[in-house]
């Protein structure tokens, strides 16, 4: 058990890499590309099964309070350690990753017909990198996985994508790389701040830095702190993507192959929100609070803007992509409310968005495989030739809109409750901005209903206007099979959210308390501020 406790996460990271090596070997020696999908499916499923061991009750927290923790020196000359572990926050994201991968692989069954060896290798490497991102507790190791996840996705979009794939792939890469490089500077600067102030030598260890801040041996000067905070925030805001850094997303989503879109929506975007929660809130609690207004404002703009733009999209996939912008706006809103409900809701929305939007992209992929178009006007009345498809699509849409008893509702509801009670905007003004913010965010839900239902109506109902659509085959057993777990989760997460929320509760609470109550050294300063600025407003 001890072995498992220490190495489970490493196994999760390495299994896909082994899978990738075997895929390559298989292709080199047997040259049976047709079998590779089975091999990849096997490895991703195996990884999912292994990841279920994370649920194990006998797991004990490591020295830093993280489960399945491992901490060994990696490059001593730089001072970086291979430090990994999970808590309630990363736990679900790891499971989400391992869960969505086999489904993504299944979706490629017939869709990918060229260069399959490379495709599956990149898919597997991507899985490793994504898991690595969620479990690293060392800043440099985190950066490493964060950047490493770019390369496979770049190739996935660039080689197997649509007509405009080159533009989309390069844009995706450069946007993300730009943000994360500035984060790298901030990481190194933090290393020296730690070295300077604690006198212990530099450290990239998140836990060590956070502890030093807690006990007061490390006090980040406010001005430096703001710069570092913004450098981290920019990297993550681009990844989320937060308005106005979102422009890479619609392109990347539209051009990516179905499996790529699914992974992009379900997991890659979560790296941004996860990073904000783990690193920005953990390392810069004061600045997070101070700048919350900006993020809340951008999130609201994102929610409304994403919804409005989605409404006018002629392409179903692009529509779903813009709906992602809106949903991720909700997540940011919840996080920056700094209330327990809001943050729990944010995490919950991250998970349910992964499930529903992943499902939507899969569904769009199914119809694309049949018709090789995604234009809304090319369809109409699909419910008569494809009843099963229509049913599943409508359920998924409802989940995405946030219909009660489906997963989308729980998260959005919690976020709005959280935002309503939020104290964080009261710091800088006397107006009840939290209520206004909630109101505006609420309109986003209505807009979501408008653009999604309108799209459903145009695609599925009415008469079949295009002759080609009359003879369309309904979903195959494989397609239904891969949707079932997603549908099950949509309902389960909507009806019975407790097990999910219970697991993340303590981790979220710890982050929330850190930000609101025991910030790193400048608590008094921050709390003394409101009356002063409030007076100015009067």
């Amino acid at each position: 058990m001890d072995f498992l406790n220490e190495n489970l996460l490493t196994i999760l990271i390495l299994l896909p890499v082994i899978g990738a090596v075997l895929t390559l070997a298989h292709q080199m020696f047997w040259k049976q590309e047709g079998q590779l999908k089975w091999l990849t499916l096997g490895f991703t499923t195996l990884n999912f099964v292994v990841s279920l061991a994370l649920f194990s009750k006998s797991a004990v927290a490591g020295p830093s309070g993280y489960f399945f923790e491992k901490n060994v020196p990696w490059i001593k000359a730089i001072g970086t350690n291979y430090h990994i572990g999970v808590d309630g926050l990363s736990f679900w994201l790891v499971i989400l990753t391992t869960f969505i991968m086999p489904i993504a692989v299944l979706s490629t069954w017939h869709a990918v017909d060229k260069k399959r060896t490379a495709f599956y290798i990149f898919l597997l490497l991507l899985e490793s990198a994504m898991i690595g991102v969620f479990v690293s507790l060392d800043l440099l190791v985190f950066y490493l996985f964060f950047e490493a996840s770019l390369v496979p996705m770049f190739f996935l979009i660039g080689i197997w994508g649509g007509d405009n794939r080159i533009y989309a792939a390069v844009k995706f890469f450069i946007f993300t790389a730009f943000g994360s490089l500035l984060m790298l500077v901030a990481i190194i600067a933090l290393f020296f701040l730690y070295a300077d102030q604690t006198g212990l030598g530099g450290s990239f260890d998140l836990i060590a830095i956070m502890n030093a801040m807690k006990v007061g041996t490390l006090v980040i000067p406010p001005q430096t702190g703001t710069l570092l905070f913004l450098a981290f925030a920019l990297a993550f805001a681009i990844k989320v993507p937060l308005f106005p850094f979102h422009t890479w997303l619609p392109d990347a989503h539209t051009e990516a192959p179905t499996a790529g879109s699914v992974i992009l929506a379900a997991v890659l975007l979560k790296m941004g929100t996860y990073g904000l929660m783990r690193f920005n809130f953990g390392l810069f609690p004061d600045q997070s609070k101070e700048w919350a207004w900006l993020f809340i404002a951008l999130a609201i703009v994102g929610i409304i803007y994403g919804a409005l733009v989605a409404m006018v999209q002629p392409d179903v996939k692009r529509l779903v992509a813009y709906s992602s912008v809106a949903h991720m706006g909700f997540v940011i809103l919840g996080m920056f409310s700094f209330t327990e409900q809001g943050m729990q809701g944010a995490l919950y929305t991250m998970l349910s968005h992964g499930v529903t939007t992943g499902a939507l992209f899969l569904l769009v992929g199914f119809i694309y495989e049949r018709r090789h178009t995604r234009e809304i006007t090319a369809f109409g009345g699909l419910s008569s030739p494809m009843p099963i498809y229509a049913t599943i699509f409508v359920i998924t849409t409802m989940a995405s809109i946030g219909l009660p008893f489906l997963n989308g509702f729980v998260g959005e509801f919690l976020i709005m409750v959280g935002m309503f009670q939020s104290q964080v905007l009261a710091i800088t003004t006397s107006v009840n901005w939290n209520i206004i913010a909630t109101m505006f965010a609420g309109t986003g839900v209505i807009f979501a209903a408008v653009y999604l239902l309108w799209m459903v109506q145009r695609v599925f109902f009415g008469k079949v206007t295009v002759d080609k659509n009359k003879g369309l085959a309904d979903l195959s057993w494989r397609e239904i099979g891969l949707m079932i777990p997603l549908l099950f989760l949509m309902v389960y997460m909507g009806v019975f959210p407790k097990p999910f929320l219970a697991r993340s509760e303590s981790a979220i609470k710890a982050i929330q308390e850190r930000v609101m109550h025991q910030a790193g050294g400048t608590v008094d300063h921050a709390e003394a501020k409101p009356p002063v600025s409030g007076d100015e407003h009067k």
């Binding site: 490059i75 730089i78 390369v151 190739f155 390069v170 890469f173 490089l181 500035l182 290393f191």
Partner: protein
């Protein structure tokens, strides 16, 4: 003073053992030349002799890595410290790789192999003298040995106009730079009364002659700036790199540049140090640090922005090498700003390590470019790489790996190199230098565009013209395997190498006072 000098002359401290690695390389060069005149046209043999010479030299070098304190020989003319050892190691590596890579090209172009290999070895000898020289004269002699050999190498393809242009340009501008360098050295000698760096370092404290020293220092910056292709002295680079035969271009980008860095660092960081409490040394130090920082910023921006617009892969790599000189300057400035001797040594080691990672990656990239180029370097445009991704997957994926390493993506050598050179600069906590690091980072982000372009071209485009799989000779595949393993090894397990490079404490060797 003069009597001391006389006794030095009469009892030379001629310790052969300390310059053994250099001697071995020079000797190998002589053997190759002699062998070639008796048995001409035996490419494999002259290549093998060169490789053996370089390897033996590297082995001797490794045994010298004692971890003791720095010493010197030849009356303080030859330094024996980590700067010399680590940089010499880089040179030997670069030359060995060049020999391996050149096989294809030497066959294809029917180049006189004996002369080529001899020149390469003499150039290596010059580079090693540059990193070992603790005296302005030795450094200059090393530099000239290196330069003259490289001028010829750049023009080896006699029938080709571009190669001629390259050699001519390199020669004229290079001589110009050498003149600047020499003038600077003369002025420094004039103001300090010595060419020995140890003694210069002592005399910097004297407040009476900073003005002349400043001018001398400025001249040196111009001279070395040319050699490392620092903006605004970089203009020759693209033409020379494009015209020179591809393996030679790879060699020039990695070897002579690192050698110039070695002497540059030795003269400025160790020879013109900051002496606590002495106003003139503070003035001098501030002057060269800020001059270099500003030029580094320009270098990074110019290199990266100009690289975007290139349509020729070799030209793109030339501009990228300018940008990389800028990144290495970041570490150099970090070394100059270091507060303790240990921190300074680490920073110097990080620059050496950076040059090593750049050499590994760059030699790998040039190997593939050379392989694909065909006769007279015909196929070196981006278009020529269209859609070869899945036609020659091994080559294309290796080239992609090298591009990602040049870009500085984690798990590759380039990433480790960048982290290491940025660290000392950020440690200095000086606004200008921090700004420089941020510019360097933005430059890396810009560079993503043109490095990725090669990947895009290879994998995302379709090939319209026919594609002949290039033949892969054994030497070339060896070089490729070494480069790939090197990129991954330095990217993942860099620990031991970095430690080694920082070992054997550096510093200007202080000769026992007489």
């Amino acid at each position: 003073m003069s009597t001391l000098f006389l006794t030095d002359l009469l009892t030379p401290e001629a310790s052969v053992s300390i310059i053994m690695p250099e001697l071995v390389v020079a000797l190998a060069g002589v053997i190759v030349m002699l062998y070639d005149s008796f048995f001409p046209k035996q490419r494999a043999v002259s290549g093998a002799i060169s490789l053996i010479g370089l390897t033996v030299s590297a082995v001797i070098l490794a045994t010298m890595w004692g971890g003791g304190s720095p010493t010197s020989g030849w009356n303080g003319m030859i330094a024996h410290d980590n700067l010399r050892l680590s940089f010499s190691f880089v040179f030997l590596f670069v030359s060995a790789m060049t020999v391996l890579i050149s096989t294809v090209w030497v066959d294809r172009e029917n180049v006189p192999a004996g002369e080529y290999h001899a020149l390469l070895l003499f150039a290596t000898f010059g580079m090693m003298m540059m990193s070992a020289g603790n005296d302005l004269v030795v450094i200059f002699l090393g530099l000239e040995t290196l330069s003259i050999a490289t001028y010829v190498m750049a023009g080896l393809r006699r029938g080709d106009l571009k190669s001629n242009e390259s050699a001519m340009k390199y020669f004229i501008l290079g001589s110009f730079a050498s003149a600047f360098l020499l003038y600077g050295m003369a002025l420094i000698y004039g103001s300090t009364g010595s060419t020995n760096l140890t003694q210069i370092a002592d005399k910097v404290a004297n407040p009476n002659f900073p003005a002349l020293l400043l001018i001398g220092g400025a001249m040196l910056i111009v001279g070395f700036g040319f050699k490392i292709a620092m903006a605004p002295f970089h203009v020759w680079t693209p033409d020379v790199y494009e015209g020179a035969p591809t393996p030679v271009t790879g060699f020039m980008a990695a070897g002579p540049k690192a050698a110039a860095f070695a002497s540059f660092i030795r003269i400025f960081v160790l020879g013109l140090p900051l002496i606590a409490g002495v106003q003139s040394s503070v003035y001098l130090h501030d002057a060269w640090i800020s001059a270099l920082a500003v030029m580094a910023i320009i270098t990074i921006l110019v290199g990266n922005v100009a690289a975007i617009m290139q349509t020729n892969v070799k030209r793109m790599l030339a501009y990228s090498s300018i940008a990389h000189a800028g990144y290495a300057l970041v570490g150099f400035i970090g070394a100059g700003m270091a507060k303790t001797a240990a921190a300074r040594d680490e920073a110097i080691a990080s620059v050496a390590f950076y040059m090593l990672t750049y050499a590994v990656t760059n030699m790998g990239a040039f190997a593939i470019v050379a392989l694909l180029a065909e006769k007279n370097d015909r196929r070196a445009e981006f278009e020529d790489y269209n859609g070869i991704g899945f036609k020659s997957p091994v080559l294309a994926f290796s080239l992609s790996l090298f591009m990602l390493s040049l870009l500085g993506l984690p798990l590759t050598a380039g990433f480790m190199g960048k982290i290491l050179v940025f660290r000392p600069a950020l440690e200095a906590a000086n606004p200008l230098v921090t700004g420089l690091v941020i510019v360097a980072v933005i430059g890396s982000a810009i560079s993503a565009y043109y490095y990725l372009r090669l990947i895009v071209v290879m994998f995302f485009r379709e090939r319209t013209s026919e594609w002949r799989q290039p033949k892969m000779p054994l030497a070339m595949s060896t070089a490729l395997v070494i480069a790939i393993l090197g990129v991954l090894y330095f990217g993942i397990f860099a620990d031991r190498v970095i430690e080694k490079f920082a070992q054997s404490p550096s510093g200007v060797v202080v000769k026992a006072e007489k």
